[in-house]
């Protein structure tokens, strides 16, 4: 399977923290991902692989939100999982307003709609975010942490957003995305 890992990090030192752990989970499951920085990806890149995962970035690193157009994510028909600050990107692309909400630490997540990423009704997850989103339009909420919408899915496509960092406490979410979408 060909998987593209997309880095949103403006600082390469952060990639060891946000991209490498996801890469390690994939490698341990036998998948050798291709890694590219978000400034260099095109629709062709997305369409040339089976799935893509957009990794998170440091709390202070939101440069990618204004850096370029990510319309290709909307145009692609391939499955995409967007993690941490990648959630902000997906939410913004599909018309949601971003809200200033800081959540740092371990919080309980409650699934509110059945989904392939996690079969559990309740679980704990590691959050590190300064933004959340008011989910509207084609994105539908699958799970919440308190009132925070933290797993979303496009209603017609296999495009997922995960506000917490599944690579820390919930690697099965990444593996389920790879195996079940």
């Amino acid at each position: 399977m060909r998987v593209l890992l997309i880095s949103l990090c403006s600082d390469p030192l952060s990639e060891l923290e946000f991209v490498k752990p996801v890469e390690d989970i994939l490698r341990k499951s036998g998948v050798k991902p291709l890694i590219k920085h978000c400034s260099k990806i095109s629709l062709k890149d997305l369409n040339s692989v089976d799935k893509s995962i957009i990794c998170g970035s440091a709390l202070r690193d939101n440069a990618f939100l204004e850096s370029r157009s990510f319309k290709m994510l909307e145009e692609s028909d391939k499955p995409i999982l967007s993690i941490g600050s990648g959630f902000h990107l997906i939410a913004k692309i599909f018309g949601c307003d971003l809200l200033n909400k800081t959540r740092i630490g371990v919080f309980r997540v409650r699934s509110i709609n059945k989904n392939v990423l996690s079969e559990r009704k309740y679980f704990y997850a590691y959050f590190m975010t300064k933004k959340a989103a008011k989910i509207i339009g084609p994105l539908k909420t699958l799970a919440k942490a308190g009132e925070l919408e933290c797993i979303v899915k496009h209603e017609h496509k296999d495009i997922y957003g995960c506000l917490f960092h599944p690579e820390v406490m919930n690697p099965e979410i990444i593996l389920n995305f790879i195996l079940k979408t």
Partner: protein
């Protein structure tokens, strides 16, 4: 970017500095020294060595006493970071945290309040890979504390080499101990590393061991040109 390194003198903070220096200027080290004598003796037996490790790296060090109380300790960290911002103009910090969401989230919150970048280049790194990298990069690391069965006094003062790594891996497989030591099973002290301009030589020490816990207390050392 100028960054400060949270520094305990052990292998993880040293490896984090080594990685960070490839991308940024590490302008200073920041060490918190436990106020309680008991903590210092039993869990940070060689915290005083950080000053000499800093000298080996040619870096200034901000040292600050810290309370055992969690809330006060975070305030102490915040004060130390403010000092590093003021004196050295740091815009971020680097830590050697590997897996502890407890530590990571607390430090992230402090950095967030101070508008500092927070880098954790060892985050979620495989324990075995971490020890292999220490060996490959020629870090000289000794075990300065053991705090879990089956680690005993025979480990104390030993340099981490391929044989010690194998023993630690065996202990991990049989007893589930964290071989990187982040769970507090082992403490380490770095005597030499690629970014050290001088190395440390221990000239006097004392071993204390009782009930599956022990320390290798460095009592004296010297700096040697490389």
């Amino acid at each position: 970017m100028k960054i400060g390194a949270l520094f305990s003198g052990g292998k993880d903070s040293c490896l984090a500095i080594y990685r960070a220096q490839k991308f940024h200027e590490v302008a200073c080290l920041i060490s918190l020294i436990p106020e309680s004598e008991e903590s210092q003796v039993f869990h940070f037996p060689n915290i005083w060595v950080t000053k000499f490790q800093a000298e080996c790296m040619g870096l200034p060090i901000v040292q600050m006493k810290t309370s055992d109380d969690e809330k006060k300790a975070l305030n102490d960290l915040s004060r130390a970071l403010k000092l590093a911002i003021e004196i050295f103009g740091i815009e971020g910090i680097v830590t050697g945290i590997i897996k502890s969401t407890y530590q990571a989230s607390r430090i992230q919150k402090v950095c967030d309040k101070l508008n500092l970048w927070c880098f954790n280049p060892l985050w979620l790194k495989d324990q075995k890979e971490l020890l292999s990298e220490i060996l490959e990069r020629n870090f000289k690391v000794i075990i300065s504390g053991v705090f879990a069965y089956p680690l005993n006094e025979n480990f104390l003062g030993k340099t981490i080499d391929a044989d010690i790594v194998k023993n630690l891996l065996d202990a991990h497989e049989k007893y589930g101990i964290n071989i990187a030591g982040e769970g507090g099973e082992i403490e380490t002290t770095v005597l030499d590393a690629p970014m050290f301009k001088k190395r440390l030589d221990v000239t006097d020490y004392e071993v204390q061991y009782k009930n599956n816990s022990g320390i290798f207390k460095i009592k004296n050392l010297r700096l040697i040109d490389k």
